[in-house]
C-alpha cells in the first residue's frame, strides 16, 4: 500500500532529522548545583590543608622543600572533587533523561561528551605537567581556563547557556593566572559558586 509506505518513510525521515538537529538536553541543573557544592567542599579542604602547612600556594616558578605532603594532599583533593562531581552530575542527568524520556546514549550524548572531554583531558595532562615542574601556583588558573574551554565547546551540543559559563570560567582562570594568591578563591568561585548559580538558573528554566 502506497500511503503506508510513504507514511513510514516520512516518519523515519522526520526522526532522522530530529536526531541530527537536537542536542543533549538531559543536562540537569541539579548536576551543576551538586558539582558546585562538591567543589566548595574541596576548596575548603584545600584551604584548611594550606593553613595547616602554614603555607600559601607557592608562586609560579617557586619551589619549596617540605611542601611535598601538601602537594600530594591537593592533588588527591582535586581528583576526589573531579570524581565525586562527575558522579553527581551523571546521576542527575541520567535521572532527568529518564524523566523526560530522552535516550541516554544517543548521538547527541556522544557529541556533547567528546566536545567536553577532549579539552578537559588536555587540561588534565597540562596540570600533570605543572605538577611535574612543581608549579602549583598556576594550577587553579589552568584548571579554570581548560574547563572553560571545554564548556564553551560542549555548549554547542547542549543548552547554549553553558557557553557563557565557559567564557566566565576562562576569564576567572586568566585572572587567577595574573594573581596566583587569589587562585583558590577564584577556583572556588568558578567551580563552586558559578556552578551552583548556573545550576539553579538552568533548573528554573528547563525543569520546572
Amino acid at each position: 500500500m502506497d500511503e503506508l509506505e510513504s507514511g513510514l518513510r516520512d516518519i523515519s525521515a522526520i526522526r532522522g532529522m530530529m536526531e541530527r538537529a537536537s542536542k543533549f538536553l538531559s543536562l540537569s541543573g541539579l548536576s551543576g548545583v551538586s558539582a558546585g557544592i562538591v567543589a566548595l567542599a574541596g576548596a575548603w579542604a584545600a584551604s584548611w590543608a594550606m593553613q595547616q602547612a602554614g603555607a600559601q600556594i607557592p608562586l609560579p616558578g617557586e619551589q619549596r622543600a617540605g611542601d611535598a605532603w601538601l602537594g600530594r594532599f591537593l592533588v588527591a583533593d582535586a581528583l576526589s572533587v573531579l570524581v565525586v562531581a562527575l558522579a553527581c552530575s551523571t546521576f542527575f542527568s541520567v535521572r532527568m533523561a529518564k524523566k523526560k524520556g530522552h535516550p541516554l546514549w544517543g548521538p547527541t550524548t556522544k557529541y556533547m561528551l567528546a566536545a567536553l572531554m577532549i579539552p578537559l583531558a588536555a587540561g588534565g595532562a597540562f596540570c600533570g605537567l605543572l605538577l611535574f615542574h612543581g608549579v602549583y601556583g598556576l594550577l587553579p588558573a589552568v584548571m579554570l581556563v581548560f574547563y572553560g574551554l571545554a564548556l564553551l565547546n560542549a555548549g554547542n551540543f547542549t543548552f547554549s547557556e553553558v557557553r557563557y559559563l565557559g567564557m566566565i570560567d576562562i576569564l576567572l582562570g586568566l585572572t587567577a593566572g595574573f594573581t596566583p594568591a587569589l587562585g583558590l578563591i577564584l577556583w572556588a568561585g568558578g567551580f563552586g559558586l558559578l556552578h551552583i548559580v548556573y545550576g539553579i538558573l538552568l533548573y528554573a528554566k528547563y525543569e520546572k
Binding site: 503506508l4 522526520i14 530530529m18 538537529a21
Partner: protein, 100 residues
C-alpha cells in the same frame, strides 16, 4: 477512503519542507547555512521551500549582519509547531490504519 489522509498537511508533502520543519521543531531556530548542511540541499531549492513555509506562517525569517556577512535565521512559529505535530499525528494514524 480512510479519513486520516485528509489530516495530512499538504504543505508538508515535500521531503525538504518536512525536513526543515523537523529541524525547526527540535531546534526552534536555525540559520540558513546550518540548514543547508543538514539537508544537503542547494541554495535555490532550500530558499524556495522556506518561502513556501513562510507564506503559510509556519516560520519567521530574521535577517541580520554578522560583521559584513548577512545571516538569515528561521524561527518556528506556534502555528507551525502545531501544524507539524498535527501532521505527524496524521502520519501515525495512516500507518496504524494501513497495518490493519
Amino acid at each position: 477512503m480512510i479519513p486520516s489522509f485528509e489530516n495530512l498537511n499538504k504543505a508538508f508533502d515535500n521531503r525538504i519542507r518536512l525536513a526543515i520543519m523537523s529541524v525547526l521543531f527540535v531546534r526552534g531556530e536555525v540559520d540558513f547555512n546550518d540548514l543547508k548542511k543538514m539537508l544537503r540541499a542547494t541554495d535555490g531549492n532550500l530558499a524556495t521551500h522556506l518561502a513556501v513555509l513562510e507564506r503559510h506562517k509556519y516560520l519567521k525569517v530574521k535577517k541580520l549582519f554578522v560583521g559584513r556577512k548577512p545571516r538569515t535565521t528561521y524561527t518556528i512559529t506556534e502555528s507551525g509547531s502545531k501544524a507539524f505535530s498535527g501532521h505527524v499525528d496524521a502520519l501515525e494514524e495512516v500507518i496504524r490504519e494501513g497495518k490493519k
